[in-house]
Amino acid sequence: MSAAPEAAVAPGEDATLNELPLLRRERIWGFWDYSSVNIGLAIATWAFLQGGAVAYYVGAKQAIASIVIGYGISVLLVSLAPCLPCGRYGVEQFVSMRSVLGERGARVLMVVMSALLAAAWSAVLGIMCGHALANVTNQIFDTRISSGAGVVSMLAVMALVASWVIVARGPRSIELVNRFVAPGLVVVTIVMLALVFTKTSWSGLVATPALAPWGDGRLDFMLAVELNIAGGFAWWPNVGNLARLTRTTRSAFWPNALGLFLASVVAAIVGVFAALALGSEDPTLWMVPLGGALLGVIALAFVGMANITSVVAQSYAALVAIKGGGGDTVRRVPWGLLAAIILAPAAVLVFFPNAVYDNYARFVSWGAIAVAPLCAVQLVDFFVLRRQRLDVRALHLPHAESRYGFVRGWNPVAVVAVAMGALTYVLLLNPVTYEPSGWFLYLTASLPAFVVAGAVHYAGTRAVLARRADWGGYR
């Protein structure tokens, strides 16, 4: 062992706020720290909304099965990639993707994923927070604020501003907030579950039909499974930069089973039960009928606040990514200002609350079209082709000097693989009409997209890229 120079970040810099690879001593999260962040991220109103969407297609028993199976598959895959490459090497998620897509490919991906998806998800969460607070106001002051009212949009903007205040202070504030919010959300979920059973019995729930099924039992079940697989894949753009902050690879992997899987599953199942019991898929309409005025208002206010913590975690991951891949100009932008820029598109989207809120299932599906193939190429690349070894120096070199340079900073094989995966998804499940093709009944859409992308990336890399050492360092 050689003598290690004193480790310290550069003056004025905190490496958790930029793309520099983290040293072990800078990793701030152990198993329970990451678990609490993870649970806080998972049990937002979107988990309840996921349950409400599943209740559209299937009843209670099939909903439980579809949620556990769907989330189980995709959360396991997401826990492998990007969590393990980022956790093992302490590298920023989109920097780690340079070994897969090339420097330029990863940068384009980073911009699309971070700027568009993060903004859109923040808008969804902000609107849900606005709905919750509007319902609180309706209950306390006997107002009649509708779900599409301008007041809802203003409340959503306030939620985004509150998120900005927290995220501008860095990851320690995320950890601090989640220490209180995550346990509180667990309590709210358990109380909701108990209250559902004051309204109905297990046999009553099982006998309650789905809210709006297609009518073909197998198709409805597979649509529910697909919705949940896609819901799990939706974590892909965020979790790598969170796992990067963990102290061990086990801490990067297993908390996902507690948070992204177990917490999401429990909250979604509670959501299904509430949706079936009350005949509504909107989580913000469940609390008062379930808990009465006082308890309902408290629960609504708390869930509204919980959405803010999810926006914060989402925004932090996007910020680190953009800092890492945005070049020198972006790197010089102060953290707080960049956080405001990231959240600004969401502040525009919240002024179209119904258009965003009513298309949740399609929204999740659009994300999976890209994310399932991306997860596949990263997983095959890291675990199969590179045997879990990354050259951290090469990740940070310009493409002309890096073994991960590929072809002018692009890996054409990975790009084709992702495109083939996305095409597979679209052929199996129309993302606009949500109409499935025949094979969807047996395969879902996300899993074939994953398999096709992974297989094309493996075969293409072996056949083309492995011939030359400067084409990605596979040789």
């Binding site: 480790a7 040293l23 099965a65 090497y89 690879t249 990067a252």
Partner: protein
């Protein structure tokens, strides 16, 4: 990337590339952990399909 940032990156890379050093990359996830997660998911899936369908 400015000189200060480049210097900081270089210092970190030296520490991380020292395979025996205290700041080297973390060891891989033990294979048993992965197998346990996969096996648990397979069993859970089969039980739930039997129960729900």
């Amino acid at each position: 990337m400015d000189d200060e940032m480049r210097g900081e990156l270089e210092r970190r890379l030296v520490l991380i590339e020292d395979a025996g050093g205290a700041e080297a990359a973390l060891p891989p996830l033990p294979l048993t952990d992965l197998l346990a997660a996969v096996a648990g998911l397979v069993v859970l899936t089969l039980v739930l399909l039997w129960w729900a369908l």
